[in-house]
Symmetry: C2
Subunit: 322 residues, 2 copies
């Protein structure tokens, strides 16, 4: 990758808009692909509201058509996974020989989808721990946190260690004030995140509840712990050992978090298509392929599929304009 | 029991008010215990709206204090099971030597609670299949169905066959236009009803859904069938064999029902305390005692306990006035 790296942001929502704006703020060359907010952002730019300091970018490189976006050094996939069917149209024109596609999505197997399009050697995973919400066109509210765990992807999720380009991406994000943690094992990082995402993202939606209420109630707390145990067993079946005290430590940390909504709850409250397959369906099928019974994940998956079908809109998405 | 049997109705709600009013309409001596609607019903009586013919009883024997209700031949328990802690105060003064207590409640083990107070020889179970709703004080809307399955209770749910007093109660209800089916095995009848109540009453609440939607969706339909299978296994562990095609037949029937709400959904929509223990908790504990794993029932139970705690009011109930 070149010295002054360029970034393409696919999906300028709560996540992509936030990180992309911070990168541009410190002088990096950033290109934003937008859909519904294109006209507004083209005219007015982006506004980031954050306890770390709010700021406005009055001009951004905004695109409605992916073919107008120049090839970039780092292509950040910040779409909802429900839109991943578009990646096959989007990615080819954006990647150069030395480009890397940074997948900032939730769930399991998302890097595999991307690797199938651009090749395994061009993919990196990023796991975002942040509380963000897009409150109006071009207006993103960052509430708290923001750290990204970065890891290289290789075919079959082989462990890759720390590479030079990871350090480069880390350097760019950290210059923009975004904390980066480097991980040697992407799949382990994914399972660790899923262990929390599955019960909390799922049950906040199904029970119309806050994380705090779920963790305070004796019944849902027991359910959460059991679901987490199910996921620890699946991760172990794929060779990823998670320490015995991991669940307890995470629950202690989560119990102290503020009354933030999970991303799936935000999607549901806005009646947006839920990321059921990436966060719940793929882990469920991974368990089944490993011959493991995960009845609680299976039931949660079915409940969410129902809610997604009956309450959420699968909006027709047209990113490639004509 | 005497020739002209007297009836006490404990709980003049959607169920007790409906059946009690029909019994009084055909000339039986009926006594209604009321709580919140006492003043209104004392003054205006009861109004039953029904496709079988609406009618008004301008005068009913209404009581606020159970000690004012005379002992009756048949004492009908039509309270929500969430109020069963009151039965110990209510029942003793109402039963005569030959009285029978007819338990028209949902769930498992409700007859045992009553038998512990009045003796095993004085208890009969009634399983109501009816769509009723109390829409205003003293105003009950009967939507459809109404049949009661009647069975004798004996200690440990031993099978009792058909008794003389079952025929007498049947005769009274049928004179009032209420269809009665006689069953020889109360516990079998209870499990057959629970097989439907557990998935439908539970999931209509958790997923804010109609029975029709749940049965139409491929994911919830699979979940329902699996929960039903769990319950068939528990019933079998208690010596109650349920035919292989029972589930399929019930689902076929239920799929043709109208868009009625389950009683638990009506309770939830009105933010009334849910019958979680009777319908879900007791079957769950029965499964555990039989050494059976019922993960889907266990998860549903925990979800409902959470919703009951966070959304429903456990109203302080004062039936015994001073």
């Amino acid at each position: 990758m070149s010295e002054n790296r360029s970034y393409a942001i696919l999906g300028t929502g709560a996540l992509g808009g936030f990180y992309g704006a911070r990168l541009q703020q410190v002088g990096l060359d950033v290109h934003f692909l937008l859909r519904s907010d294109y006209e507004y952002v083209k005219k007015h730019g982006l506004f980031i509201e954050s306890p770390d300091g709010s700021f406005r970018l009055s001009h951004v490189n905004a695109y409605r058509n992916v073919l107008d976006v120049p090839p970039c050094d780092v292509v950040v996939v910040a779409l909802k996974t429900t839109q991943n069917n578009l990646l096959r149209q989007m990615l080819p024109s954006l990647v150069k020989d030395n480009s890397v596609v940074l997948v900032l999505q939730n769930g399991l197997g998302v890097e595999e989808d991307v690797a199938a399009i651009v090749g395994s050697n061009r993919v990196m995973g990023g796991l975002c721990f942040t509380c963000n919400d897009k409150v109006a066109p071009g207006h993103i509210r960052h509430l708290r946190y923001g750290v990204i765990t970065l890891a290289e992807y290789a075919c079959n999720y082989l462990t890759c260690g720390i590479t030079e380009r990871m350090l480069q991406v880390k350097s760019d994000f950290e210059s923009a004030g975004v904390l980066i943690q480097l991980a040697e094992d992407l799949l382990l990082a994914r399972w660790k995140k899923l262990i929390c995402n599955i019960p909390f993202n799922g049950l906040t939606v199904v029970l119309n509840a806050t994380i705090k209420d779920l963790i305070s109630d004796v019944h849902t707390r027991a359910l959460i712990e059991q679901m987490m145990q199910e996921m620890v067993a699946v991760a172990a079946a794929y060779g990823r050992a998670i320490a015995d005290d991991y669940i307890e430590k995470r629950l202690k940390f989560i119990a102290k978090m503020g009354p933030y909504r999970t991303s799936t709850k935000i999607d549901f409250d806005q009646r947006r298509s839920l990321e059921v397959e990436a966060i719940f369906g793929k882990p469920l099928r991974a368990a089944q392929q490993a011959g493991l019974d995960t009845p609680q994940l299976a039931m949660l998956y079915r409940q969410l599929k129902f809610l997604d079908t009956y309450y959420c809109t699968n909006q027709a998405i047209a990113v490639l304009s004509h």
